[in-house]
């Protein structure tokens, strides 16, 4: 028992100073890009986004939602010349 208490004292102190651990998890986001329609090299939607949440995906060379920070304003969807984007209402809101 006293051993556990000692351990807790030590861990409580450690918790204040240890570095950070990371996680990787791919999950559902609101802006869905149709890769068949999206034009490689076009950056119109990336320019349009008022919260800068879109970027070129280095793997596909097409636009994707890089940051989960969508205002679902539809600027990207409206401005896309190929109608390649569909914006969903974020799960927490829908």
């Amino acid at each position: 028992m006293s051993n556990l208490e000692d351990r807790e004292v030590a861990k409580a102190a450690d918790a204040l100073r240890v570095g950070n651990a990371q996680t990787v998890r791919v999950y559902d986001v609101p802006v869905v890009v149709d890769l068949a329609k999206c034009i490689t090299g076009c950056r119109i939607c990336i320019d349009s986004c008022p919260v800068d949440c879109l970027a070129v995906n280095p793997e596909t060379k097409k636009a994707h939602m890089r940051h989960d920070e969508c205002w679902y304003c539809l600027a990207c969807e409206i401005d896309c010349p190929k109608d390649a984007i569909t914006v969903k209402i974020p799960f927490l809101v829908r």
Binding site: G19, N20, Q22, D47, S48, C49, P50, V51, D52, A55, R66, H67, D68, E69, C70, W71, Y72, C73, L74, A75, I78, D79, V87, K88, I89, P90, L92, V93, R94
Partner: protein
């Protein structure tokens, strides 16, 4: 250290509605490129109205209203705490701005005889002018800025104003795509950075599900504060009636003139006017938290063609994704009333009165620094106020810049740049640090816990301790790219605004502006002590200083009845059933 420097005569920070007219007007009198416009997003979809607006809320059209009537309406709506000269400057110049917009090709609703089709939404006068094709506005302004020859820097986040002996010398910030820190030196700076819209946390819990465009994080409030400018009315929060869960207005301004109105769960009206004021919000709040709640926007009684017209406007302008929100919930206007709720708190003079102190020339209390739009305190100024004050600021900034002396203390400016550059870039040294969204969630959750009205000194004092602690915790937040650097900078702005909101609210020991500053420990207004502005600024040791500023003598005299005209907004006979008054929710 090598920091690029751009030279400008007039620098405009923020390319929304106010920034657009400021830049266009300033560039008219200067050689091409001498006006620099910084925009954190991209000009074509920036500001509060990325998708355009569905109407003007405060158009003063001859034959419908006079500037004096408007000044009275806003003085009443803001419980008397206004600098009338600033409101009057808007009122006298805004029709000229409206005509200018009309000539620029912005499509306003007109009658068969070609006159502006003004609607009544306010408690007293008629000021609402629909613009059902308002999505053109951003395109038109963007084209005019480019044509004028303004030097535009998109995706640039300004973070601090540079000063020379207390006067404006320029702005420093970071490119949010490249991460390059650079300086724009200017003789005059016009801040048009929008509201502090990421202050409270929306009930949905989605960080970016805010009423305001989330790119408006209070940047301008924080930059003006650190430059030494006074802010005012910060305790007069922005709280708006919105669709429950969806961050768009249910929109009394569009639906009201077509027959829609706010009702309680029994289907009864309980407020006389849907115009957004603190008094209206207090009645809304009371109904919501009574046995009569929830509150709804009633449209089910309207004809199919009227509903089609409402959808045509509401699902194409301002917040066009609302149609798919309703569809996802399986709700239709013809069969279901729209459940409404109150928004998270924010700071925004466009809707309430919280902002940087400005006079009728758009001048802040710092020489050479101007402010316009949602962040500048001209109460209830809305879109047309932003457009009009952008011009007013530009005209006065041009006069100031023409006689401004060059900075004398270059080494001090170099020090400011070095210090700020290090501050901006520091999060990159902590790539595995606390993620910005967790820090932001924490600040904003604490804002909800401790600052959301009704307010008490006990709760706000506890909140203030957390906001002070969060100043240190900002040093733990990390960034892995320039985009995240911008977000961490915004975390600092949001924290600053939270502290300002707490301190200003604690200082005013009375209740005023309905729900916006409703204090349970001081439930009544106290005109004897608090018929004043509460101003806030950074003290010499970096502490927040608060003071009372007397109200200037009114230029449009008000009778006692006129001043209290917004106090009786509850429909006569509409009972308050089991309201929670006197308890902390």
């Amino acid at each position: 250290m090598n920091v690029a420097v751009t030279q400008a005569e007039v620098l405009v920070v923020g390319g929304g509605s106010a920034g657009a007219t400021a830049a266009i007007r300033a560039q008219q009198d200067l050689p091409p490129g001498r006006v620099v416009l910084l925009e954190k997003a991209h000009l074509k979809r920036s500001g509060a109205i990325a998708i355009g607006m569905d109407g003007l809320n405060n158009a003063i059209v001859p034959g419908h209203a006079t500037p004096e009537q408007y000044v009275k309406e806003i003085t009443t709506a803001n419980d008397g705490i206004v600098d009338q000269r600033a409101v009057l400057a808007y009122a006298t110049r805004s029709f000229e701005m409206l005509q200018q917009l009309d000539r620029w090709g912005v499509k306003f609703q007109k009658t068969e005889s070609g006159d502006f089709d003004v609607k009544k939404v306010h408690h007293q006068g008629r000021y609402v002018l629909p613009m059902p094709e308002g999505y053109d506005l951003k395109k038109i302004l963007t084209r005019l800025i480019k044509r004028a020859g303004v030097q535009v820097h998109n995706r640039f986040a300004a973070t601090r104003v540079l000063l020379d002996r207390g006067r404006v010398a320029g702005v420093i910030g970071v490119d949010v795509r490249t991460g390059e820190v650079s300086v724009i030196r200017a003789k005059a700076v016009i801040l048009c950075c929008g509201a502090s819209g990421r202050l409270g946390l929306p009930a949905s819990g989605y960080l970016y599900g805010t009423y305001e465009n989330p790119s408006n994080a209070g940047d301008g409030y924080s930059m003006a504060y650190h430059a030494g400018a006074e802010l005012t009315g910060i305790e007069c929060f922005q709280i708006n009636p919105l669709i429950k869960d969806y961050n768009g207005p249910a929109c009394a301004y569009v639906t009201g003139p077509l027959g829609g109105h706010t009702v309680n769960a029994r289907g009864d009206r309980f407020i006389q006017s849907d115009y957004w004021s603190g008094q209206m919000m207090l009645e809304f709040y009371r109904e919501l938290h009574s046995s009569n709640g929830p509150v709804y926007l009633k449209l089910t009684h309207l004809a199919p063609e009227t509903l089609a017209e409402i959808e045509r406007v509401l699902h194409r302008t301002e917040r066009p994704s609302r149609g798919r929100f309703h569809l996802g919930r399986g709700h239709e206007y013809c069969a279901d009333s729209v459940e409404m709720h109150i928004s998270e708190i924010g700071l925004c003079s466009g809707h309430s009165a919280s902002g940087v102190w400005v006079n009728e020339r758009g001048e802040t209390s710092v020489p050479g620094l101007y402010a316009a739009g949602d962040m500048a305190c001209v109460p209830h100024n809305y879109l047309l106020g932003a457009l009009t004050y952008g011009q007013i600021c530009a005209e006065n900034a041009l006069v100031y810049a023409a006689q401004a002396e060059p900075p004398v203390n270059e080494s001090d400016l170099d020090d400011q740049v070095a210090t700020e550059r290090a501050r901006i870039l520091a999060p990159l040294s902590r790539p595995r640090g606390v993620p910005h969204h967790q820090y932001e969630y924490k600040v904003r959750r604490l804002v909800n816990d401790y600052l959301q009205p009704p307010k008490t000194a006990n709760r706000m004092t506890v909140g203030l301790e957390y906001f002070e602690r969060l100043r240190g915790e900002l040093e733990e937040v990390g960034a892995t790219d320039p985009h995240e650097l911008m977000r961490v900078a915004e975390c600092g702005f949001i924290r600053d605004c939270a502290e300002m909101a707490a301190r200003a609210s604690l200082f005013r020991t009375e209740s005023r502006w309905g729900l916006y500053h409703h204090r349970l420990d001081y439930p009544e207004p106290n005109d004897a002590e608090w018929f004043v502005h509460v101003n806030l600024k950074k003290g010499p040791d970096g502490e927040m200083l608060l003071s009372k500023r007397p109200i200037e003598e009114y230029v449009v005299p008000m009778t006692r009845d006129e001043l209290s005209g917004y106090q009786g907004l509850r429909v006569r006979g509409a009972a308050e059933n089991g309201a929670l008054e006197g308890t902390v929710p």
